[in-house]
Amino acid sequence: MDGEELELFERSLRHATASATGAELDAALVELGWHDALEVDRRASVALLFGLQGEAGSTSAALDHLVATATGLAAAASTGVVLPAIDRWDPPGVVHGRTLQVAGLVSSAGAECPEVVVAATAGDALVAATVPTESLGLRPVHGVDPWLGLHQIPAREVALPAEPTPVEGSWTDAVAAARLALAQQLVGTSRTMLRLAREHALDRVQFGQPIAGFQAVRHRLAETLVAIETAEAMIDAAWLDGDPGTAAMAKAVAGREARVAAKHCQQVLAGIGFTTEHDLHRFVRRALVLNGLFGSAKSITSAFGAELVESRQLPPLLPL
């Protein structure tokens, strides 16, 4: 997509993500052709939508779509996708004969579908197991961020109604795609926290002046911008080199930096930011859950560090 087209697309997406969430946003995305745009310009489509979802605090089935298309799981709109449990990134299912062991999460859109598909390992192979949604015993997640509309699958065994089908795509690619999208959503979430804290700093008067005049406040906001730009740069690198390892770094950095942003912005907003009368708490909550999806900063980073210790070989630097 080029300049003008991209701008128009961004404007429509901004409007959609700001005015709708969940099923309504999904309908808007179909209408404005996000799924087609994804085929034409993957990077722009993912970066724009997820960044804006993060900024607006809205949610859609786009993450399910990315996971489904990367693995080649059933793409029918009426089929939901099972996502790994918090802080996990292995396939959510294991198939033994005609039984499926499954644990994980389902989005609000997925929970509305009559059937869901589970990426599962069967021996060394990756398969797609489709099961009736009602067989999973879904429970709506209240948790720290009930607005995200996630549903939990309590770990269980399900009898498979049909033979699972072999999967063309790779789970590694699905994880990388999800991580890049989530990293961008974390950055968007952080940007809104910074916007809210900045506005407050300029408006709130103490000791006869806006608190934005106090260096301790200014430096917290500056550090927040550094955190955001750090994550943004890492995401950029992951799109440039297309390596799942770099996507993992981007997700880890975005998750860690969103926590930094939350810490600083919460402190600047102080009392009002600690209430549900102010919007900040929604973004703080969202950042916590997004950090956990497809691996938290801590888990991804520990696993990466352990690989480095083992191989004693750093990945190559991003070329100029």
């Binding site: 106090f214 500056a222 550094v226 690198a237 770094m249 520990s302 480095l308 070989q313 750093l314 630097l317």
Partner: protein, 376 residues
Amino acid sequence: MDIDEYRAAFDAWLDDNREQLAPAYEGKGTLDEQMAQIAKVKRLAFDADFGRWGWPERVGGLGGSTLFRAYLQEAVTARDLVEPGLFSMQEVLAPTMIDFAAPELAATMVARLLRGDETWCQGFSEPGTGSNLGSLSCRSVRDGDTWRVTGQKVWTSLAQYAQRCVLLTRSGTPESAHRGITALFLDMDSPGITVRPIETMHGSLEFSEVFFDDVVVPAERMLGAEGQGWSVAMDLLPYERSTALWQRAAFLHSRLQRLLEVAPPGSLDPLKLGEVTQTLYAFRARSRGTQHRMASGAPLGSETSIDKVLLATAEQAVFDLVADTLPAEVTVGDDVESHLWRTEYLYSRAASIYGGSSEIQRNIIARRLLDLGSDR
């Protein structure tokens, strides 16, 4: 020529001339040895044209993308041919010289710097003026066709080697702040200049005190107009804070790789190692973006303060990990490699100080990028 062609050609040249390019010393070398090595590498690269690409033709370059310069810096660093911080001084000083010096002056002088025939230094800081550059007091008085300079600079890197200095002087009244500053390009062998090297914490005579006693500077050596010195500084600092730091990711990458190779079993904390590596790669990614912006002709400004904060964070994170992983080498080791780790650890402490401290960068980010208004 595009960047891939340049990269391939330069890599091949570095391979072919490996022996000639190699330093004559083991480990870090003395400062004299490092400076001689830098001059040699610059001369060879310039004479083979690689050191000329990316610089404008009017100053002796061959034109083309500034990415070529970035790749040169990175490649000689990754191969351990030069001390990267000292080598990259030309990326701090030459761009501003090209923007502000009279065309004939830039045309004669810049090529000498690029070819390693000369070393230049940057006379900004003074005993009473570090972060608050606008308060500098080294005095310059206009006297016909000349300026007469009296005062002192401090922490002037490489002053004892330098043939020239980019000097900020107070030409206005003491109260004139940033409006009364004039930038001069002066010869370090001018009568009245005394240079006294100072030993740094990492054991090098890398910077000096410089005293000026009624030093005469021809008026055509002004950079920009009289009283425009602040614009010169504002033009120069973004390079010092970003593009001149590009090769440090390559340097830190090679040191972190070395740490992985020599770390005793069980000494590396995986979580810490993973975090440090991610921080380094994020700095690299940020820095790459800045290089590409410069190559596209965009002016560099306050956003480079983010690059500088990231460099300081990454460099100190890498060497904090070194100190945690190799405690004996860093503290009591006296072999060549231990000495190198210790020196580099100590030098990393300066990363949040030179080129504007991290606090100053945050002030700039708050004021210019977040538009938080004045802090007074």
